[in-house]
Amino acid sequence: MWVACLVSLIAMRPVFAADEQIHVIDRAVSVQSTGELGALTQITLPVALPDDWAATRPRFEGSVWYRTGFDRPTGVDSHELMALYIERVCSNVEVYLNGQRIFSGGRMGEPVTRNCHYPQLVTLPAALLQERGNTLDLQVQGHALARVASRQRAGGLSAIKIGPQNLLTREYDERLFWNVTSVQLANLALGVLACVMIGLGWMNRREAYLGYFGWLCLAWGLLSARVWWRNMPWDTGVMEFLFCTGFAPLAALGVQFLLSYAGLRSRWIENALAAQWVLLPATLLLAGPGRLFLMANIWYGMLALEVAAATGLYLLFTWRGRRTDFWSMAALLGGVISLLGLEFARQYGLLSIPGIPLLQFAAPLLFIGIAMRLLQVFARALRAAEDGRDNLEGRVQEITAEIERNFAQLAELRVEQVTEKERKRIAADLHDDLGAKLLTIVHTSESERISTLAREALEEMRLSVRGLTGKPMRLADALADWRAETVLRLGQANIEADWRGPTEEIEQLLPARGFVQTTRILREAVSNIIKHSGASHCKVRCAITERQFGLTVQDNGKGIPMELDGKLDRGHGMSSMKHRAKQMQGQCLVESGPGYGTVIRLTLPL
């Protein structure tokens, strides 16, 4: 994708027709000499421009003088300022017009200024420029191909153009942008990206590939500096050696990035890469500066193969594992590999791509693409992790709440169990001891009153040991118990019993104490009827509402005789019945008169 984009950019470049305004000089005479212009005598060897030293004067290292002549182009207005444009001159050039030095690209001695990637635009001073027969001398300082690590930095001179300055400036600007500025911009972007990735890698040690990629970007950026860095501190041999050495860590970082991104790790490969780091400069030193280009290219090939192998390995593992990651990374890495291929073709002179340092410009773009992909993956992983953490937090809260709930239930259960056990123990003790004694009183006492009291005490004791609050009883069950007892007793006394209770389902509960007290009241009432009333018929009615329970016991006996003070007979236990009802916040009303029978109305709140 990036490559296609780049090609189209190149294609869109406006082409300047070599019309009559611009004069292209494509031949010259030359001499290899370090002397001054005035000292030169034999500039006779004709050469065609562009003059590639690797082809025309291999192994030559030093200064070459080129001489050519030109007339002012005819189509140009005489007031127009004229300029000289050199697309490529390597490493440095000085220009003389009609014997006068008019331009210098920088230092001509070591360390030579490196203008290999810089186009040159030289304004031709109008005072020196003649209408016809101008002499142009160019002194080019260059290096032999064998002594540099890249074909781009081998000595040479391209064709020279002479024309109006405004036209040539446009061509110059464009060339400068693509050759230098674009690389600088890409490097700048790459540098920023590298810092981000290194930072991310530093913070996330488990995502080591982020760090590797960051360092890879940084190394690439530093190595790319050779494109636009003109005045270097050391001479060419040293600098070429240093730059070439830099490729070992670059390739190592690339391989490590790919492997760690694929989730692979090999101590063996790591060691081999480290060894290579030492081996590469060692072999370069052994081979000597004269075979730098050869050795460098052997190493480039090897490093490229390593990267390609790592890429293959990475893609294989990605294909097996994260299929979604495969296509985008395959496209990006494919781009990088094909750029490397193009670069090799260029280094070996198989392919001539004019001008643009494709690798230096396009590779950073691809790197940026890869970085975007990595950041996307990282951001996605981060979000997944955050979601996961949120989920986990929720689960932890849920489980904590559940544990607390369970614990509370367990504690409650435990308390209940212990209470129950203790209650049973006390119950057994009381029954064996107190119960037995009360029982003896019940059955041995001569007094009816005392035996009744003892019986009640026994009931009271039972209620206590069952738990004072006791288990509440379903009112329906209580009614059943009362009915069974009342009807049985009345039946045994030959009194007709007519018990009517609610027919619908009753859901209300009755406290244990309420049950016992009501039982006593009812029992007392029935005893009274059996013992004193002389009745033949007894009606019992139960009425239950939401908050109240009513019990009416009516007989057709002779009623309760009045005492002197107008109160009902105490011997019939009326006062104790009333007292019991009051204890339950209820009331017990007795209506009676001689010959009318007796009605007892008990009302209790529920």
Partner: protein, 218 residues
């Protein structure tokens, strides 16, 4: 001539009961025991017609004596006489084969009346006991709560009907009238219910023993 076992550890209560029983069954021979151990010995020696057993005794529970009687003398009617009125004590006694239960603090006349009825073949059945019996059999009929190869003891519809009415507070004679059945038939139903209660609990016990045996073998 009837043989009656009287198992009671308190001397006063025992003598009180003895007088009471003698009043109801004047021609009876009363054998007294104060401990489970003594009672069990008597059971092996004497053939009883009626047994009155207390539950809480110094060397154990009267339930064991009830169970022993049920095993060796099925025709003997065991009646529990106790101070405990809660189901936790009464229900196991019924399961062990007790024919009825009496509360010690009840008036002499009431106990005498109940003993008389029991001797005539009318077993006592209170609403609370009926509720327990109903829930016992209801749990049994739920298959997930009944262990495998457990003999299924179920109540007939009529027996259920009687139990439900007792649980609602109707007396046995009343139920007889409601269902248009004689006093004896109702009494037979109740006896049948007690018998099934005993059978099912014995089956449970047997199964439990078998399970323990299996464990021991493993």
């Amino acid at each position: 001539m009837t043989n009656i076992l009287l198992l009671e550890d308190l001397p006063e209560i025992r003598s009180w009961l003895k007088v009471l029983v003698k009043g109801v069954f004047p021609n009876s021979q009363i054998h007294e025991a104060a401990r489970v151990h003594d009672a069990l010995e008597l059971v092996t020696a004497v053939k009883f017609n009626l047994a009155l057993c207390d539950l809480g005794l110094p060397d154990g529970s009267g339930v064991d004596v009830v169970a022993a009687l049920r095993e060796s003398q099925p025709e003997c009617q065991s009646v529990v006489v106790t101070i405990h009125d809660d189901d936790d004590h009464l229900f196991p006694a019924l399961q062990a084969g007790a024919f009825g239960y009496l509360l010690k603090e009840q008036a002499r006349e009431l106990i005498a009346e109940q003993l008389k009825r029991m001797s005539q073949g009318e077993p006592p059945l209170s609403p609370s006991i009926a509720r327990r019996v109903i829930s016992h059999f209801a749990a049994q009929t739920r298959p997930q709560e009944r262990p495998q190869n457990m003999p299924h003891v179920a109540l007939t519809d009529r027996e259920n009907e009687v139990l439900l009415r007792v649980a609602k507070g109707y007396t046995l004679p009343e139920i007889g009238v409601q269902l248009n059945l004689s006093r004896h038939t109702i009494a037979d139903y109740v006896k049948q219910i007690y018998r099934k209660l005993n059978v099912s609990s014995r089956a449970e016990a047997a199964l439990e023993a078998q399970r323990l045996g299996l464990f021991r073998r493993a």
